[in-house]
Amino acid sequence: MMLADQLPRLLSGTPGTPRGVEEHDATFAVSARVPSLLEELDLSGLKGRGGAGFPTARKARLLRTHHGRHKVLVVNAMEGEPASHKDATLLSTNPHLVLDGAEILAAIIGARRVTVCVARNNTTVIAHVTRAIRERERHSRRGPTLGVETPPWRYVAGEESALMHWLNDHESLPQYRPQRPNVLEVAGHAALVENAETCANVGLIGRFGAAWFRGVGTEASPGSTLVSVTGAVERPTVVEIALGTPLRTVLALAGADPRPRALLLGGYGGSWIPGDDLEVTYDNESLARLGATVGAGVLAVLGHEGCGVVETERVVKWMANESARQCGPCAFGLPALGADLAQLSTGTREAKDALERLDERCGSIIGRGACHHPDGVVRLVRSALEVFADDITQHAHGEPCGPARSRRHFLSVPRLEHESELVWE
């Protein structure tokens, strides 16, 4: 029996050696009679861990009332964020917990099929999931048919409409959806898309109940969550913390720089926050006051020997390259933002104009894409302009800081690929 205030929950065990079915059932022995799964999910107050933080019960209810005999549950473990490793870590530690949750959600909405989506370059995780599924089949558990799909790894490929597009037509491009809320469909059947970590939490709720789940976390954000900490850390890690833990504690747990210059929260489409107030707690309610969200659970640390402008420029350039190039404002706007930031970071003669342009372009790009990819980049740039305001004034006056001159950088950004190399199908 697992105690309600015991951590880690999701990551109990050894990452890299996934638990087998028997060991899994022994560790997470069912301890609470759950009369109605949907009600229990409602009581638990679980919110999605994929980035948007939407209440899971409400989403499940929407799909439950939707008619259809072949509904599908899609587990999203795409992890497009280069800094995020939480879903991979989770699936290579407790894959059965994720599948448990997926089966529970499938039962709630009445789905007969569960599809786990893992990016195809993540071969170890694919192997772990496949093995776990086979193991479950051998144990002849009743329930929905389980399967794995492997879309290409692109930043936007994990966006839910792009994921649906891939499952339908093998093209990882986001789609324009004017009506909201809209029900996603796989081959004409309604689909519920949930993040892998959300599913694992549902698995825990199904086994131990909502009261147990609320044993850690805050009233508004109950439960524990996985955080991928990168940047100025000894080594990038995934830690499990109770929501509402002070940032200082999170940094200490991950062995990060205790006095950072700034923190990037949410992911590469997230927001910078200044590193001076580390008593802020890690949950959406308290981070909202700083204009940030938990997002996809990325916490990138920037030390004092780093330059925020350079880091933002690198991230924005990469994000611009990851655009699916379907919508004009994203395809042309993001590279333009990257070019402006480059002017600013090197402190060229046009840096001042670039700064003015940045502000203008941010205003004209936001909200004009089919998905929220450009909005995320705008959020990142705007937060950088605010948090690194002093540095930026210096840069704009043609005096870039030391790290900007030496181009030392801390955030991990993958190599830029040529447009012709980008794989969408």
Binding site: Q175, Y176, P178, Q326, C327, G328, P329, C330, F332, G333, A336, R361, S364, R368, G369, A370
Partner: protein, 79 residues
């Protein structure tokens, strides 16, 4: 039947995936559509812009005139 639909609750929207920046909408409905620096339309979000019947007419022209058929008129939610 016989119910008159209020026309003020409309707005013009563009499908950004379909739009290729031909710019016809800006020509046909300049009071509703401006251009960004790359030639893609920025549609006004001001509900008052549609109170003028002429604006509605030009919006319809823009919808019909779009070579990519990326524009559509939509009823505003909440009215």
């Amino acid at each position: 039947m016989g119910v008159k639909r209020r026309v003020t609750g409309l707005r013009l929207r563009v499908d950004p995936v379909l739009c290729d920046g031909y710019g016809h909408c800006h020509e046909l409905a300049p009071e509703l559509v401006t251009m960004d620096e790359w030639g893609y339309p920025i549609i006004t979000d001001d509900p008052a812009a549609f109170s003028d019947p002429a604006a509605l007419k030009s919006a319809r022209l823009a919808v019909r005139g779009c070579p990519r058929q990326a524009l559509h008129l939509e009823r505003r939610s909440g009215d």
